[in-house]
Symmetry: D2
Subunit: 345 residues, 4 copies
């Protein structure tokens, strides 16, 4: 058993961590922190947890909080984690951060779309937590920067095909669609039910912060500059993310080549499912699971490959992948706490 704490437990990603870790067979969830709700039982904030989670939220305090667990998840707005991580690491704790603060290798890239980074020295130490791609590095990591939801859904289908040279790297387009929970729990007009309901739209068309994250990883993976044209959209639903990715295949590539590349790359990855021929991913089929479903269509006449991937933005796109990373870091089975049977509806 590992004692685990969550710093910032009351946002949607934090609460999803509470859910998974409360049910995790090898975890003892010992501390939840929240500035806004310090002193409030977690089950008052999330009444579904009545009789299930009996923890009360606490104010974060480096000495006291750090003493209560061995591994910490941080589900805070970016810029806060970079101030807390050094202290936690100095006390011998392992850290999995769900913000953007430790996702980048290149501080300049981070600073171009967030703000100044005050713990740059940790960026080389930190491992990007896209589990299926960086599993070995994660195994020995003390600090993991858990990927964004959009990057997760876009990188998993793209990396194997780019690595194996099956597609061109300079014409990539990712048209991505997310449920509303990705916008977080803080009330805003943009997440008001009446504004979201019966609405579909693109947003941040002139630049979303997940774009440099995607670009950096693909650039590192290919050794050459890669830019993905990326347009995020908001879907009137709570959970789920679908990315439709357009790529130009290299000459002579067949659908079977694409399938083999993906299947081979993910044959030992229990959470990536390459769908059978004729099936396309649906966010409902991965709802509340840690799966990433991948499908594709190769149009040989017009030489275009359409890749489709579906995840639950709060699970594989956030809390689930974070726990998957913890499992790797601690040596537990990769699927521990994440293997609930999917819901038919």
């Amino acid at each position: 058993m590992t004692s685990v704490g969550i710093i910032g437990a009351t946002g949607y990603a934090g609460a999803e961590l509470v859910r998974i870790l409360t049910g995790h067979p090898h975890v003892n969830l010992t501390v939840l922190t929240s500035r806004q709700y310090a002193g409030t039982p977690f089950s008052e904030i999330y009444p579904c947890m009545l009789n299930v989670c009996t923890l009360t939220c606490e104010e974060f305090s480096m000495e006291e909080t750090a003493a209560k667990a061995d591994i910490f998840f941080m589900a805070l707005p970016h810029q806060l984690p970079m101030h807390l991580a050094p202290g936690l690491l100095a006390r011998g704790k392992k850290v999995i951060d769900l913000s953007a603060d430790f996702r980048f290798s290149d501080p300049a890239r981070y600073e171009s779309c967030y703000q100044e980074h005050t713990a740059k020295e940790l960026l080389q130490q930190s491992v990007y937590g896209l589990t299926e791609i960086y599993r070995e590095e994660i195994r020995g990591a003390d600090i993991v920067g858990n990927p964004g939801c959009y990057p997760t859904s876009i990188l998993l289908p793209l990396i194997p095909l780019l690595n194996d040279g099956l597609i061109h790297r300079d014409t990539l387009i990712a048209d991505a669609k997310s449920g509303v929970s990705g916008a977080g729990r803080t009330p805003a007009l943009a997440t008001h039910h009446c504004e979201v309901n019966e609405s579909f739209k693109a947003y941040k068309v002139d630049g979303h912060r997940h774009n440099p994250e995607i670009d950096e990883v693909l650039t590192l993976q290919t050794g050459r500059d890669v830019h993905v044209v990326f347009v995020p959209h908001l879907v009137p639903m709570t959970r789920g993310m679908l990315s439709t990715i357009y790529a130009v295949p290299q000459k002579g590539i067949s659908a079977e080549d694409v399938r083999q590349c993906l299947q081979q790359r993910y044959q030992d990855s229990p959470f990536v499912r390459i769908l059978p021929n004729g099936r396309t991913p649906d966010t409902r089929h991965v709802n509340r699971t840690n799966f990433c479903d991948i499908g594709f269509h190769l149009d040989q006449k017009y030489n275009r490959l359409v890749l489709l991937s579906a995840i639950d933005n709060l699970v594989k796109g956030a809390a689930g992948q974070a726990v998957q990373n913890m499992n790797i870091m601690t040596g537990y089975a990769e699927t521990a706490g994440l293997d609930a049977v999917p819901f038919p509806l």
Copy 2:
């Protein structure tokens, strides 16, 4: 480990049984039957199950199917189960039927709202599977008639108060609201997304089949004729049921009396949660769980008690309660396979 089969596995209640039983720690799910989908892998019908459930649907055959398991769940339209149950019982199998066929003690009441009953002799043997009320009888039962979703949500709050004489039995009103999954999986105009979306309405105002079921149980519980005025409504959501019940309290009853009655009755029932003062049930808080959340408001000035209960119609209202009953019948922990941590969203 108990080997279990599901007869009629591809409707929504059947599929929810597949989900729960696939993840049940003491169950070996061995056979799924379906007329419509015989020969089709279950994961083709419910693609969420890819790599998770590897069973293929079979045509039901008494000899072959019965040989494959010790306990059978039937998730079929009413009228079919009454033809299958005798054969299964004769072969020493235990049966939990989710239709109305074995819910009634009085065949005339059944026949007044369904059709002729051809296995009347089993009605005395069959136990009504409202677990918290009939737990002891269920323990020794060979055949259980699993309650309807509306009756479950209405009977659980009412029975303790009627048993203890805290409310009048002749002025009961239940205004109940259900998500769309209660209408089943068969496509129909009434469940077409465009007809349901942005729609709220009552239906079957002149008589719903769950009304006699509710009335019979309350009549048996109180020893006197009871009729509940019952109006069901359809909510534009997939899962969830809320019942708002209006009762006239006996003179001098206090809110504390109501609370104590409910808490005492359900103190050893892990799936019934009597909410703290000031909280009211929300279907979202019991979503995908086997909980029944109960709240109430006593208006002493106007002498009116409002009871509120929330369940997930597919879990506590169908498949979850059925598995809860199986746990009782087999001597497993009542919560086995049903104790997943609730989702915050």
Copy 3:
């Protein structure tokens, strides 16, 4: 043509007024006020209005604003209108207020659930704007207190039956359900899409401010104290309200009596539709219209009448009825600006 202004134009009821009045054949919409958005074109706040409404929101100023129109709608939070109405009336303007400030005859009743009333002298002058019931009084009114949405949906079916003595007045229950737009446009956790979606719940079970409003009108109509047990619920949809009302009929009353009473009362009311036998109201069927659809079921065996009424909470429950009242006050056809053909979906 009448020149009309809207004070508080950017909330949902205000914006719905903008919509209706922009399309009204006899209205010249001349001024929109908003504290929050003064100086902002209305079509920036509601982009649907691009090229359609060219007005820019202004700060309210008694002298300047009053000079711009002859009739003013106020769509402000309660407590503000009582400070503005006297000045507008003193300048010879007519006022239709959508808040609760001018709905009550009895200031004590108002103050019991809102706050001190500083314009009590206007309460006798003000007419309750339930058009079908107070049409004649509205005709000559200078100031109208437009009804709440819940009261509109509950009073229209009840008043004729109470007036004609067809039902008992002391056992009335109204179980009401509203779409989310009733909660207004200000962002809050309670209206966050992720909190509303797949959620159904009651709220303010211990007392909603529309209850005294309902009670006062029924008390005035019957000449005796009436209290309705009233429980509001939130439906995961944007628009619409359904009320299910339970009443005890007087002895010997038939369904035909109920139908005749309702039809006779509303035969000259174009916006009240008494549904044919066997039909029940659906919020979708009155969506975006000024209709109030009324249906009922009389259970003679158990002596219970179930009344059902559906409105669009923003139209008949707010802006539509306000314009209907303006039409009466100005002598235009009652349906002017409100007779768009309903949407099939």
Copy 4:
């Protein structure tokens, strides 16, 4: 006044035609036909129409039906209209067909994705009803093939830019998203509320019938073969369509060039709105209107143009554009019957 009939009035597009034409100031709607509902009052099929539309559906009969109106809309499944149009035209009627039967110039292209065409001779006579592009041809047409919803949303932004040579014609991608009403009213698992709710997915990734329609129009417009990579998706909402279109701009093109091209082309088209800088289309902003909102983002660094367009699939994507075409054909104002003020919600 023009007398108008609708053949196939009870599907969603047909019912939307009933709505618009019932409210049209210059139209006398005289006949509705339906095979399934012959003899049934339209207001029983669509109860929103009670007291509003008093027509009863009839069986189609060439002699009798044709005699009742001068202009006919056909809202039937493809393959039926080609059998009816010749008879109607022979009787001097004008025809606006909402199916695919008269959209194509090239019968081979039609037959490649539908079935044999039995009225090929009409294809040259028929005009493609994309109003803003073919307004002059429509003016004199006897028969119009009303465009598909996807083609409408994709062609309107693309054609001006292709005509003016601002973008390359050989790298076009359209990622399109539609509400569920586009799938029609016939119940099916794919439109079951529980299957659609909380689901987002692509469909017909290997070829949708609107793709050849798009390609043919662009080929005719440019005089050279054009193929658009087109992937449709299903959004869990009733109405609305958003298309995100990716194009490679010609060298040196500025955002201002794009804006001027679009604005100039559509300056006399009241239903096309080129959004101001910084705004992106939202289906909610065109909901229930005949508008097509167009926005764009030009990324000069990476030389990519993203075009966004939003329509209501049942209005500008079907019935509204059909009426717009009728207005052109009859010489009425183009906006007649289509100029209702948009709903803020």
